[in-house]
Symmetry: C2
Subunit: 186 residues, 2 copies
């Protein structure tokens, strides 16, 4: 199946850099969950704790999105180089960048976009090799929040109503309770 | 000083519930950072690791926002009861709720709004006592992402350009480098 949010030609992957073992496990898990839920096709990350991949596998098994890929990489430099060689653009989310309001049209007009989120301080070179250094506000907050707002803005909120065709479980939105449809044949 | 985002009468606090020691420390820290950076006045939370408060104090000292309060609470039920007695409304962010697109106008029209985000499973009663159960998409992802998108939608992105008058450090947005103004007299 295809990514249901990709109604335009725009294809987005996420690159998570600087993950530190144990300390960043939960945050990186949230980054991966946001990437899947908010319309991306893939996340690249350094080697991470196995629990992150198994948790994502479980989510995809139950809630759908088998097209979504987790790729373990050796070096972020090679990943970006390869991405750019294939004609993709790179947007690095950083509080030091230009406000997203200023670059949102450019981001929407890309064919392939790699959104880069760092764990702690990121290498200086990343500011240079990125096509866009984008600030989701110029205040310190959270790479998870930054990624979420960036994707919500790019897709104009359409990702929040999508369905995953291969889901076993689907939620029936409700004002005051939990309602789940189980399409599984198990 | 006042909260610079509060151009309308709307005043937002965040209630973090279900924090588990150690396991949720980093995620709760991100929730608090997002609340401050994206226009809220206060966060209520159960007793948490001291590092969370000291980190927030340090952020506020350097980046401003002394009006922002961290309140340690005993019971989320009492906090919500008190909030509602004072005429405030309660929006619980949950993947089981109604899509934010359907309730955004109601949220914007509140005077006082308490946005509730849970760590893991939340008590059933929360669905009943909340005025709005709001889904930032009906997929599992992240309470940090949900809070960020909710605030960005409510404030129509205005929180991303605000200045904190009492900041020692201010960023000069740049396309490809880190530029910081230091207003401190130290």
């Amino acid at each position: 199946m295809n990514n249901p949010v990709r109604r335009s030609r725009l294809k987005i992957s996420v690159l998570r850099i600087g993950h530190r073992f144990v300390r960043d496990d939960r945050v990186t898990t949230h980054v991966a969950l946001v990437a899947r839920a908010l319309g991306c096709d893939r996340i690249f990350m350094n080697e991470v704790d196995k629990s992150i991949r198994s948790m994502m596998d479980e989510i995809i098994e139950r809630w759908g999105g088998r097209y979504f890929n987790i790729e373990i990489i050796e070096s972020w430099e090679s990943t970006i180089k390869h991405w750019k060689n294939e004609g993709g653009k790179v947007a690095h989310l950083t509080m030091y960048g230009l406000n997203i309001n200023e670059v949102i049209d450019d981001l929407r007009n890309c064919d392939k976009l790699l959104v880069v989120v760092g764990a702690s301080k990121v290498p200086k070179e990343l500011y240079q090799v990125s096509d866009y250094n984008v600030a989701i506000g110029n205040q310190p907050h959270s790479e998870i929040a930054a990624l979420a707002i960036c994707l919500d803005r790019i897709f104009n909120g359409k990702e929040l109503t999508k369905q995953f065709d291969d889901a076993k479980l689907k939620i029936v939105p409700s004002p005051n309770e939990k309602k789940i449809l189980n399409n599984s044949r198990d």
